[in-house]
Amino acid sequence: MDRTGSRIRARRLDAKIAQRDLAQTVGISASYLNLIEHDRRRIGGKLLSQIAAALGLDQALLAEGADAGLVGRMRAAAGVADAQMVEAPQTADLAARYPGWARLIVAQADQIAALNQRAQMLEDRITHDPALATALHGVISAVTSIQSTAAILTGDTKVDADWQARFHRNIFEDATRLAQTSAALIAYFDAPANGAPVSLSPLEEMEQALFQTGFHRAAQERGGKSAAPDDPPLGPGAAGLLADYDARYSADTAALPLATFVPAAKAVGYDPLRLSAQMGRPLAQVMRRLASLPGDVDAPPLGLVICDAAGVVRLLKSVPGLELSRAGLCPLWPVFTALGQPGRAVAGPVVLPGAPEVRLTCHAIADVAAHPDGPHMPPLIEATMLLRPDDGPDDGPAVAAPIPVGAGCRLCPRAQCPARREPAVVSLEPSL
């Protein structure tokens, strides 16, 4: 039902304009305006334009109501916050009446979500980062050695010259190591003035910049070739990586513009295999586009992993609520299986340990490109994997049993996993 009339009435009342005054302004009778306002007469064209101008509003806002995407994002923001607090039935009305406030609500909700995720990432990193745990262990070990050795040298029992020399050398070595590790830890915890966490590598720094926009690059979507003006300042290494990302992103955009890609993706339920076949584009490219859809597209949360032939992760976009570490990723993930069968898609469910278990559907494929220096050089292989959380119990056809994967051997509690390559940070046998 066309509710243009109702919107006109609401905006008129907001502006505290009498019905007869508005009618007179646009040259119609008050009774005709009353019929319009109660949606008993359709309105368009010149008269709608005149009424919009009299009310100081955009004509499209009256004709179409609030942006459906904006309303959806407002509802999503209410869903994250205490739903009892908001007047949900009036969401569309609020967005139509006060679009600026509505966009502010959405922007603040997005910022809150990003800050929460960043805080969780930092907390998880401090608690579970194997590199940090190793560094702290190194500090304690150095301090222990220095204390014990110094106690020997300063104790009551005489120490012969050879042992004195050895212990003095040991103290020097441990003190040097302690100083270096302490400096590295201070740098790790020392955040810059803008509050952004310090990255440990250019790759992580680039991903943090991409995380701010969900890996979506609006400037490149509009045909831009360089970094967006609102991109955070990056070190030279990260800036170079981002430039490479943008170059590929631009090529993907040209091949799969959003205007056609989004409806096609929605029509196939964001299934990358079907989408790739339908659009005649490489599966890896389709997966990259799916993982970088703008936030106002009503798509499921999608993660992305890209690795090279050595299994080193070159790009990592985690699924919201599931933080994967690029260091020591579990070898059972489909992205690594795909490396063993280049050109052939790997698809299926995986399950991560936990209570409750986390289940995802993954698609992966490895692409092979010739080395630019000639056929005598090894080919360049890159594997891409798209991750999508399962929606819940599926009453459809039975699917393959999920592959048990983990977040990495150092963090995984699956003690008996045949693919385990190193012990966990703590022994987590469920029998204990």
Binding site: S148, A151, R166, N170, D174
Partner: protein, 130 residues
């Protein structure tokens, strides 16, 4: 005959310090730096007690302790566990797995000597009850 201590620790300077103070106290100290082959060393050396670091390359000290207690030959072998992680859950895990003593780093030389003497000193019978 001097009691034999097997020190399983991967930090070389800590190995030197502990070896020095225990040797000075009359104990024979053998050392091993890798967790993966630690059980082989235990079976070969047949020490009177083990000082075991929790974080080792190859296999954690907790896993080694579990294997020690699962083996009838070593189930009663005194174990002093050393760790840089002093959280209560680590202490509880070590005790639950069967460590006789749990000490956090950094430790005092006098304390570690006292603990070793308490476990296998001259006043402690060689054959500990099961």
């Amino acid at each position: 005959m001097a009691r034999r201590v097997l020190l399983i620790e991967d930090e070389p300077n800590i190995i030197e310090a502990i070896s020095f103070i225990l040797s000075r106290d009359g104990f024979t100290v053998h050392t091993h730096e890798n967790g993966e082959s630690a059980m082989d060393k235990v079976r070969a050396q047949r020490p009177d007690m083990i000082i075991l670091d929790a974080m080792l390359p190859g296999k954690s000290g907790f896993d080694i302790l579990r294997e020690l207690r699962a083996d009838p030959v070593t189930s009663n072998l005194p174990v002093l566990m050393l760790t840089a992680r002093g959280q209560a859950k680590d202490r509880e895990l070590a005790i639950r797995l069967g460590a006789d003593v749990f000490m956090t780093k950094p430790f005092s030389n006098a304390e570690i000597c006292a603990q070793v003497r308490a476990l296998i000193g001259d006043d402690v019978p060689r054959d500990r009850p099961a």
